[in-house]
């Protein structure tokens, strides 16, 4: 099965034959099965690598080991019932997933969300972005061998998860957003604790920089590895920090501002290196920008009072029609396409998962590199298999 899959791409076969002709010695490429159980494939990703020594000739990606049929399930759930399921898409940034879903339903129904809820949402989404990027940095560094960064990142992530637990009652699968607002208002003491986090975080982030930012080993492992130009990246469906690492100024929060992002002061993080290191820098910068957004939101929330839920009918029955709403999730563009037939259940719900799209470019990125680089590349594009397989 796997041999056939690879051979189907005519160009690869041609490449291999050419190599065989060139070498007088009859050599054959080795097939290496990386995953679904492998320390650095971030879950259940499976790569079939065709190797020449340690150099990669071709890659095939096999996914679907975590397929739960979310889209089919959605057709059998009412709109509010599907919300907890979205937590389980990208389970390390569940607020962002909720955000995309509720925005789509609100767009479909034409609900206006109260100001206060808007800012709470933005703040939570940005905290999620920081925590997601922290996990990414932790695992990416661990993959390349710097294991201490992992623990330092998790230390800060715990602070964010504490905040989540305080506001939502759960640390990971938060289910905090509701169609028309958020489930509860912020609890007492939240703002102070969040402020403390914003104060501490930039200082603590210095630790990761000390360990790897200028480290020569880190540089030699990431600079000029897996280069992909902005144009090619767009062609291959890259979004989010990955495409911003290739010099494309594209952030949905800026370009199609939703939920008051346009009223806050922040910058798009863009790097022009196009390589693993550039993507690393983009995310580092994004974490700091998110921190800025969070503290701005806190300033506003302190003064702004009001309801956190819009007036929403008890049974949510959107009008007939279809909408697509997208948010800038930590991994890239997360979109929900909902087709409604006027009943309380979506007729069709499609999730545009950023990790799924980001994976498409992996074979292009790793061609010609070494086995060790595959790990660096997978780490750098930040996949979460819950989202890829849905």
């Amino acid at each position: 099965m796997m041999e056939k899959g690879l051979m189907d791409k005519g160009s690869v076969e041609g490449q291999v034959t050419e190599d065989l002709m060139r070498d007088t010695l009859k050599t054959r490429e080795m097939w290496l099965n990386m995953g679904p159980q492998h320390p650095s494939t971030h879950g259940v990703l499976r790569l079939i690598l065709a190797l020449e020594g340690e150099r990669i000739v071709d890659t095939e990606i096999v996914i679907g080991y975590l397929h739960r049929g979310m889209e089919k399930l959605a057709e059998a759930k009412t709109y509010p019932q599907f919300l907890p399921y979205t937590d389980r898409l990208d389970y390390i940034s569940s607020h962002a997933m909720n955000f995309g879903y509720v925005l789509a339903v609100e767009k479909l129904m034409g609900i206006e969300v109260p100001e206060r809820a808007q800012y709470i949402r933005v703040m939570m989404a940005e905290l999620t972005r920081i925590s997601s990027h922290l996990i990414w940095l932790a695992t990416h560094a661990l993959d390349i061998g710097a294991m201490t960064v992992f623990l330092y990142c998790f230390r800060e992530r715990e602070m964010i998860l504490d905040l989540f637990e305080m506001a939502c009652g759960a640390r990971l699968t938060t289910s905090y957003f509701r169609i028309g607002g958020v489930a509860h208002d912020l609890p007492d003491g939240f703002i102070e604790q969040a402020r403390e986090f914003c104060k501490i975080f930039p200082k603590k982030a210095q630790d990761y920089d000390d360990l790897i930012l200028k480290n020569r080993i880190w540089l030699s492992r990431t600079v000029n590895v897996a280069k992909i130009s902005g144009e090619e990246g767009l062609n291959l469906g890259l979004t989010g920090p990955n495409i911003r690492g290739s010099g494309v100024y594209w952030d949905i929060r800026k370009d199609e501002p939703y939920s008051n992002y346009d009223k806050l002061d922040w910058e798009i993080a863009v790097e022009h290196g196009c390589d693993v290191y550039a993507r690393y820098l983009v995310r580092l910068k994004e974490m700091r920008e998110s921190c800025k957004i969070v503290s701005q939101c806190l300033d506003i929330l302190e003064k702004l009072d009001g309801p956190v839920m819009a007036k929403v009918p008890k049974v949510i029955k959107p009008p007939e029609g279809e909408v697509y709403a997208s948010v800038e999730a930590p991994k890239g563009e997360l979109g929900f396409y909902i087709v409604s037939d006027g009943s309380p259940k979506p007729y069709r719900l499609k999730i545009r998962a950023p990790s799924f799209a980001n994976l498409i470019s992996v074979p292009t990125m790793v061609r010609g590199h070494m086995v060790a680089d595959v790990i660096a590349v997978i780490g750098s594009i930040d996949v979460v298999l819950g989202e890829v397989d849905r």
Binding site: G5, E71, N235, L236, G335, P344
Partner: protein, 216 residues
Amino acid sequence: MAGEKEKKVSKGEVKEERKPKAPAAEEAAKKKAAAPKDEAPQEPQVDVDTLPLVKRVKEVKGEFIEDVKYFRGEITFLVKKEGIVDLCHFLKDDSETQFDFLTEVIGTHYPEREKPFEVVYHLYSTSKKHRVRLKVQLAEDEEVESVFPVWRSATWYEREVYDMLGIRFANHPDLKRILLPDDWEGHPLRKDYPLQGPPGYREAWIKAHCASTNKL
């Protein structure tokens, strides 16, 4: 709406809504009174033909466009099946549209329609910052041309549509299942596919994997 779906809805909902029905209706009425303020600017009677994007497309590739819709600020083109790749090439390269990014490809199944399948393309332009939706309707055994020559990312999206709905794409370089195992039977996102898998599948799975627990 399909009879089956209708039945399911009524079975599930009528019973449930016995109590909240009145408040829900009230709410809806209240909302209707309050809503026009929010909804009205979103849903005015926009003449779609005046939108610059629609104008441009109709002007150059009008022969492929069957219909244009406008809902919640989103433009949808219903495209003739033959013209999709041509239109995509145009939308990508034209200086007024510049849709350089294929967001996703979606398949939808409407069993009661004459052409039951619908392939939906979402396009985005990173320079113009606008979006558009293209739709192609297909009959049961029809194929649509792959847009893989325009955007390479379409390979995976189209594989997913094939996997989930069984819609075939002509000239696709590697059309096979992507999320489900290669030997899977059926296409789960079709409306006639049962929610808990093929009959007997769940029981067989429990027997094979959960032998130790008698209740699941």
